[in-house]
């Protein structure tokens, strides 16, 4: 297993796309922190990158990588190796390289310029989101045999998690404005890892505003130790379930 992970990581490094992604993140985060006169504002711009770019790249690149290494996968399957080992190694290799890229590209500038609670929360959220979206990308890649279709699905997934889901929530909020929706909204965030990580970061960044009427409800839930643990568990579930589903699919897939 170690050998395959090592091979996958070396192959990804040779691919240079991840290197470019790292350099891109690094460039953006450093320029953001240097351009803004107060670094708290820089953190805000970085938030958008974490919530938009990180999921997008973590979806697209692994999906394409899985399609491109289909021959390599066939070769591995012909060896005396368990399919589970192969698939998990591939997942780990991709997850490690994507989160490492994020850590170097955005994490280090955060640690340098904003080593605050908000910064750490952002770093954690970015790492977790990288892994979650690698898992989702691999699920999409294993379900759709056709590469074009797979990539289309992946882009739709990204659109869904970053725009459509929120649009639906906003729609529901306004259609049912007369009902007490606060608790339901807290539950709804569990269905979107981007929203969940965004709220966890907001709780550190906009504490004052969130202490207002409804904010207090979110704060009461997410701000407590219990809420933090629950949110973390939900995020971990978001990593495990797609991986497990894709693994089940891959085990029986006719390559």
């Amino acid at each position: 297993m170690k050998k395959i992970i090592k091979y996958v990581i070396i192959d990804i490094l040779r691919n240079k796309i991840v290197l470019a992604y790292t350099a891109f993140l690094l460039l953006i985060s450093i320029s953001i922190f240097n351009l803004e006169d107060n670094s708290a504002k820089g953190l805000l711009s970085l938030l958008n990158i974490i919530l938009i770019i990180v999921p997008l790249v973590s979806l697209l690149f692994p999906a394409i990588y899985v399609y491109n290494s289909s021959e390599f996968l066939e070769l591995l399957v012909s060896q005396p190796l368990k399919r589970k080992t192969i698939w998990l190694s591939l997942f780990l290799g991709l997850a490690v390289s994507m989160s490492f890229a994020f850590f170097v590209g955005a994490g280090i500038p955060i640690l340098l310029f904003q080593a605050t609670a908000t910064g750490f929360m952002m770093l954690g959220a970015g790492l977790i989101l990288s892994v979650i979206f690698v898992a989702l990308a691999m699920l999409a890649a294993v379900i759709a045999r056709d590469k074009a279709k797979g990539i289309g699905v992946v882009i739709l997934l990204w659109l869904y998690f970053s725009v459509i889901f929120d649009g639906l929530i906003l729609f529901i909020l306004f259609q049912f404005a007369d009902y007490p929706l606060e608790k339901m909204m807290v539950a709804a965030t569990a269905f979107n890892p981007i929203d969940l990580s965004r709220i966890l970061i907001l709780l550190k960044m906009d504490v004052a505003a969130l202490m207002g009427y409804t904010g207090a409800i979110f704060k009461d839930f997410f701000g407590t130790q219990m809420g933090l643990i629950v949110s973390f568990l939900v995020l971990v579930t978001w990593m495990i379930i797609p991986t497990w589903l894709s693994l089940r699919k891959f085990k029986h897939k006719d390559l």
Partner: protein
Amino acid sequence: MKKLIYISLLLFFAQDVFATIIHVGKEQNIKTIRQALLLAADGDTVLVGSGQYHEQNIIINKSIALIGINHPVISGDNKFEIISIKANAVTVEGFKLINSGVSSIEDFAGIKVYNGKDIVIRNNILENTFFGIYIQYGINCLIENNNLTAYSKIEQESGNGIHCWKSDSLRILGNNIIGHRDGIYFEFVKNSIIWRNVSEHNLRYGLHFMFSNDDAYICNVFRDNGAGVAVMFSKGLKMIRNYFEENWGDGAYGLLLKEISDGYIENNVFDRNTAGIFMEGASRIHMEKNQFIDNGWAMQIQASCMDVTVHNNNFKGNTFDVGTNGNLVLNDFNNNYWDKYEGYDLDKDKLGDVPYRPVSMYAMIIERNPPAMILFRSLMASLLDKTEKVLPSLTPENLKDNHPLMKPLAL
């Protein structure tokens, strides 16, 4: 020679005028303050040595100075009002007053002034009193350098720190007030000044004004109070160089202005409040050189306000700059610094060339539908904000700063 006679005559008759000093203490002949008060005449001084005194209710009905040496402790034994002042020109200085009675019928206080002029209450320490210092019908009184601490947990069972009612020309200087219901409470108080006090961790308001006109509060710190500072139904107030900090929670404001007119708000700092200033029914208020830093809402200005001028203020790091509840805007924003301003300054006059609209679309959405806060800072919300900037529809058209500053003011 004639002169000498005059002087000696003067001295002879003046004997009567010389105040006597009465000593109270364990080693003295007079052991209790009550006894000393019986002996004292107008103009006398009663010096109280250190120790513990349990004297039920001490009533001062002569114009005397009651002065404690090394903070003698007078206890109300959780039953009594400690010192009641019912005369003019009384000084109470240097005591430690503890454990007054608590009642829901009477307003027991550490020191209560019933109708008096020229009263001085200075350098006292009050601990665990129901009301701290209570002035009613006071004129020209000075309350200076007192430390008031209460440990109340429930609003209904707690009193105010410095409570002033129907008074005129009070000076409240340099007091520290912690843990009461309202730190300083003013009702029907005129021409008074509140200067350099610190009011923090009170259950309700740090400072509470009702129907009090022509007062000023200057250089005070109001921190972490249940609902910040409330100024209601008053006119002609001056609020200068105060700090409003960390008032968090639903309905908590750095400064709440309700039905206020002719106010002047200058050089204050609003730092980390849920809402820096909340205005309702305020008119003819002039605000300048204030700093709004890291608040949830820097200002919430309801449509019921008019002629509020907001000039030359700094807005930095606030989640929302301005919130409002309608489209009617009768107020004037100009020459403020907004850190969210994205305009440019081509003619280099240090003023932005395009107006800044401090009310964001999403602030309006949250105003109408509070749970929408959950989508704040999402891609969806930023898209809505951006489209609104191009085509304003929800946000009030006239609420804008026509000449925003490019650089923050040095305040």
